[in-house]
């Protein structure tokens, strides 16, 4: 029935959607023509897109079929067409988990990661998807260089790939700590953030080092960096049972005055989640949340009311001041916001508010 509907639509649109009703076997059959020479970049690009499409649709591709397609794809490294090359990287990443002997592309990718600027970042990410622990040694130096590269796309790609390679293993990621330290003060916000992620991942269990990482009183460029920093600081406060007198708490509180809403909200959320907070500590966090309640952005209202709801469980008195704002949210067009507002009011309201 569904396909009938689609057919009709296709006719209406004339020509229709080239991607509907693609048969897996037909696409894989077509993928064999990637072996043909000379390479037609446009045609091959289209075949690769189809292949990526069926993979993205969740089609199950067997190991044999995948390996065949993968090897056909590797032939395309002979072409220097930028579009095609990028699609090949994507294909490699998608197939690297299913196909056999994917290591075959290593040397091609290593050449690309030192080659043209626009290929370097994506090539690094593709390379790391086919690399296993036995090959780490051979790529370590190149990764170091890539992390410290001047191009932010290259540096970010290398840092994120290093994190993926080291998923679950500190020993692996540790290799790149020095390089990450070198770019932690990068001018590019994303590189700075990714370097911070890597440093945190390695130092996770080293309390003193983490403390140093957080208490470094420097300005970050990325709001994401601040958010991660706040999370680390809050966790440290909890672990140390430090309470609100610590330097770390001051840092979190100072973030309530940041210019990015994302950071302000992260700080408020952290403060209300800490265990041993007094009403005095909560007050500034609650008042920024109160402000967010009347924001025109639904996401911001949702975030605020959801956090106030959590506060109300433990400290209903602290939220009472926001009751008026919460009452306005009962009729919010977003039903999740309205529901949260009502449940929060049930915890904080009293007889006098029922009348309103």
């Amino acid at each position: 029935m569904l396909s009938l509907k689609r057919d009709k639509k296709e006719e209406e649109e004339g020509g229709g959607n080239p991607f509907y009703n693609l048969e897996k076997s037909a696409v894989l059959q077509e993928a064999r023509t990637l072996n043909d020479t000379p390479i037609d970049p446009r045609k091959c690009g289209h075949i690769l897109t189809k292949l990526l499409y069926i993979i993205n649709q969740g089609e199950n591709i067997g190991q044999n079929e995948a390996t065949k397609a993968f090897f056909a794809m590797t032939k395309l490294f002979q072409s220097n067409d930028p579009i095609l090359r990028r699609l090949v990287y994507l294909g490699i990443k998608e197939m690297s988990k299913i196909a056999q002997d994917v290591i075959i592309v290593t040397s091609c990718l290593m050449k690309d990661m030192k080659g043209k600027e626009e290929f370097r970042g994506p090539a690094i990410r593709a390379l790391c998807s086919v690399t296993d622990s036995t090959m780490l040694q051979s790529i370590q130096r190149y990764m170091d260089e890539a992390i410290m590269d001047k191009g932010p796309a290259v540096a970010s790609a290398a840092l994120v790939s290093a994190l993926h390679l080291g998923k679950g293993s500190h020993e692996v990621v540790k290799r790149w700590v020095d390089a990450a330290n070198a770019v932690a003060t990068s001018e590019n916000p994303m590189v700075e953030f990714h370097a911070l992620c890597l440093l945190y991942h390695v130092l996770k269990n080293d309390k003193i080092a983490l403390f140093k990482l957080v208490s470094k009183s420097r300005k970050f460029r990325s709001p994401y960096s601040y958010c991660l920093q706040i999370r680390i600081a809050a966790k440290l406060i909890e672990r140390e049972d430090a309470g609100s007198n610590s330097e770390l708490f001051d840092f979190i509180e100072s973030c309530l005055r940041h210019k990015s809403e994302m950071v302000i909200y992260e700080a408020a959320q952290a403060i209300v989640q800490l265990k041993n907070t007094t009403a005095k500590d909560l007050a500034p966090a609650v008042s920024v949340l109160q402000l967010f309640c009347s924001s025109p952005k639904p996401t911001l209202r949702f975030a605020a009311v959801r956090t106030l709801n959590k506060v109300a469980i433990k400290h209903p008195a602290a939220v009472t001041a926001c009751n008026l704002d919460l009452e306005n949210l009962i009729t919010d067009v977003n039903r999740s916001i309205a529901t949260l507002a009502i449940t929060t009011l049930l915890k904080t309201g009293n007889e006098s508010s029922v009348d309103r």
């Binding site: 690009g45 897109t49 969740g58 990028r86 999740s336």
Partner: protein, 177 residues
């Protein structure tokens, strides 16, 4: 909250998706194993679509996950994160996602245009997020990194220029022969 603070995490995003106005998947990327099989993923998408396609919100808690979304003509864009995730971070990813696709499709955010530029859309999604870590949140940067391909975006003049170029090439080669 009761279980105390969670471990600090920089894997902000669990999934991104673009669905059409029937709830069919145009593109979907899952970055962890919340939905391990394709069947579970599609079921999640269908349910999410049913919940969101008429509601004119921007955010919803769904199956214990925070989903932010945005729609245009016949396309729905989603970014999904854990229920503990900072909603504003997710919203910033959604905006980067939407704005970069919009720029690639030349503000013509609809299914037809998306399918005509599916390769560029795949590349943009790949530049946005890598394995759950936000790779780039600036839509212009994303487009720039994909835009080595802007000759592929069908635009009257460019196509014309291309035809001319290839005609020139052919003449040149036939003379050289």
């Amino acid at each position: 909250m009761d279980a105390g603070l969670r471990e600090p995490s920089f894997y902000f995003v669990k999934a991104i998706a673009i669905l059409d106005n029937d709830g069919n998947r145009m593109l979907a990327k899952y970055y962890d194993d919340s939905f391990p099989t394709a069947k579970e993923q599609k079921e999640f998408e269908k349910n999410l679509f049913n919940k969101t396609h008429r509601a004119n919100g921007e955010i919803i808690m769904f199956e214990g996950l925070t989903c932010v979304y945005k729609s245009n003509v016949d396309l729905f864009f989603y970014v999904v994160g854990s229920s503990m995730e900072n909603e504003l971070i997710l919203a910033s990813c959604l905006n980067a996602f939407y704005d970069s696709i919009s720029e690639i499709l030349r503000k013509n955010v609809e299914k037809r245009a998306l399918l005509d530029n599916l390769d560029a859309v795949f590349l943009a999604a790949d530049e946005l997020c890598d394995g759950g870590i936000v790779l780039e949140s600036d839509p212009h940067q994303i487009v720039q990194r994909v835009a080595i391909r802007n000759d592929d975006i069908p635009l009257g003049e460019q196509t014309m220029a291309k035809v001319l170029q290839s005609a020139k090439d052919q003449i040149k080669w036939s003379l050289l022969k």
